[in-house]
């Protein structure tokens, strides 16, 4: 006869183990994203040459590059649309885009998800 309660030993052992879960919103120390993590985008206006490859390749049309003056560009990124694939980062010939490790992007207001990276006036 096969008896029930096969996991007894392991279950009792768990009492002496450190819990696998964390108190997330209160303790964030454990949350270290890997180096290749694709989080919130960062745009470096000074590097952009305005080729708009990122706009062309973005699967979600989340990024818009605007020309404001000669050789000066601004980027609008809609984080609500962005799917964090980082294709724009890969395709950018001048490395003007960068994926950061930021991931806590929830917001109650949709407008806050639209961010603009302004070029610094020269």
């Amino acid at each position: 006869m096969i008896w029930p309660g096969k996991m007894l030993k392991q279950v009792l052992g768990s009492i002496f183990k450190k819990p696998a879960t964390t108190r997330y919103p209160f303790h964030k120390k454990e949350l270290d994203m890997p180096d290749r993590f694709r989080g919130k985008l960062l745009f470096h206006p000074e590097m952009c040459i305005g080729c708009k490859m990122c706009m062309r390749d973005c699967p979600a049309n989340a990024i818009t590059i605007r020309k404001i003056a000669d050789k000066e560009f601004e980027a609008d990124i809609d984080l609500g649309k962005c799917i964090y694939c980082a294709q724009c980062v890969d395709i950018c010939p001048k490395k003007a885009l960068e994926a950061t490790k930021k991931f806590e992007l929830a917001s109650l207001v949709r407008g806050k998800l639209k961010i603009t990276f302004k070029a610094e006036p020269k």
């Binding site: 029930p4 309660g5 279950v11 009792l12 819990p19 879960t21």
Partner: protein, 313 residues
């Protein structure tokens, strides 16, 4: 008059049961979580849940019978509060006692299950109805072994009064060891009474949403949840009084601590049990109760009768 009102509403009646019920729920959830290698809820979680539910709007389905629908949670609470008055907690006598109160307590503790059935049935939702029928079917499965195993110690003590049982075991120490198989059976069937894994068939969430409680919300739901927590304490007290009748002769404070430890032990054992198994199907549960538990309970009764006949003449 005042004294009895206090004992009914405050201690060891309603208020004590509420506090102990919420504490019991916390302990159960915390242990369950730790056994699963999780952190578990903070200590105020059960109270927070209760307050949150109580602040919500009660929604009564159009089709439901509003009288029955609303009355059921109150019936459940009342029955449990009444039952605790007859159970000796830290002394060898209960607040109120009469011949045969053991049977009355057992039936008072059956009333919540019946209210689950009626509440589910009168809310007319299909999930509730299936849950209600399952609750009743399950009642017929676990009630017999539970009854037989709880009556066995009484047979040995030659009384069906809870206070009488306590007094008998206080004067005959170590005799309670005979009842350990019965204790195990009661613990298992108690899981069925409190609708916990592996016998949470009436409210199996992956099958019938929340079973009998599907249509309940707000305060009525809060009351039902509270009733289950209180029932856990009342039933644990009953088991403690019947199967663990020791340490009753100290002063009230130490006696009370010992009583709490006994309840804690029973709750812990139930948490451990519900960690270990998968939920059974209703037919498997029936056959398990009738094939294994009922005969075992019967053996316990025969054992106790024999013991009584030959040794305690």
């Amino acid at each position: 008059m005042l004294a009895s009102l206090i004992s009914i509403f405050i201690f060891p009646g309603f208020m004590f049961l509420v506090v102990a019920g919420l504490a019991g729920q916390f302990i159960d959830r915390k242990i369950y979580a730790r056994l699963q290698n999780r952190i578990g809820p903070p200590w105020y979680q059960p109270a927070a849940d209760f307050i949150k539910l109580a602040a919500k709007e009660d929604i009564v389905p159009d089709e439901a019978n509003p009288g029955m629908f609303k009355a059921m949670p109150i019936f459940a609470l009342t029955a449990i509060t009444t039952s605790i008055l007859y159970i000796p907690l830290w002394r060898d006598t209960a607040l109120y006692t009469f011949k045969g109160d053991l049977v009355v307590v057992l039936y008072l503790l059956t009333i919540p299950t019946l209210t689950f059935f009626l509440g589910g049935w009168y809310s007319t939702s299909l999930y509730s109805k299936i849950g209600a029928v399952r609750a009743l079917t399950q009642l017929f499965a676990y009630e017999v072994p539970l009854l037989m195993s709880i009556l066995a110690p009484g047979l040995l003590a030659n009384t069906w009064s809870l206070s009488g049982i306590s007094q008998f075991y206080a004067s005959h120490p170590w005799y309670w060891l005979v009842n350990i198989p019965g204790f195990a059976i009661s613990l298992i069937t108690l899981l069925g009474k409190l609708e916990k894994v592996p016998f949470d068939i009436p409210e199996a969430e992956t099958e019938i949403v929340a079973g009998t409680f599907t249509e309940y919300s707000g305060r009525l739901m809060a009351m039902f949840k509270l009733a289950i927590d209180m029932e856990a304490i009342a039933a644990a007290s009953l088991l403690a009084a019947v199967y663990l009748p020791f340490g009753l002769s100290f002063n009230p404070v130490i006696g009370f601590v010992i009583y709490l430890l006994k309840v804690l032990f029973i709750i812990t054992a139930m948490s451990l049990l519900r960690t270990l198994f998968a939920r059974l199907r209703i037919d498997q549960m029936m056959s398990f109760c009738w094939k294994y538990l009922a005969p075992l309970a019967f053996v316990q009764i025969v054992l106790n009768l024999t013991l009584k006949g030959f040794i305690l003449r």
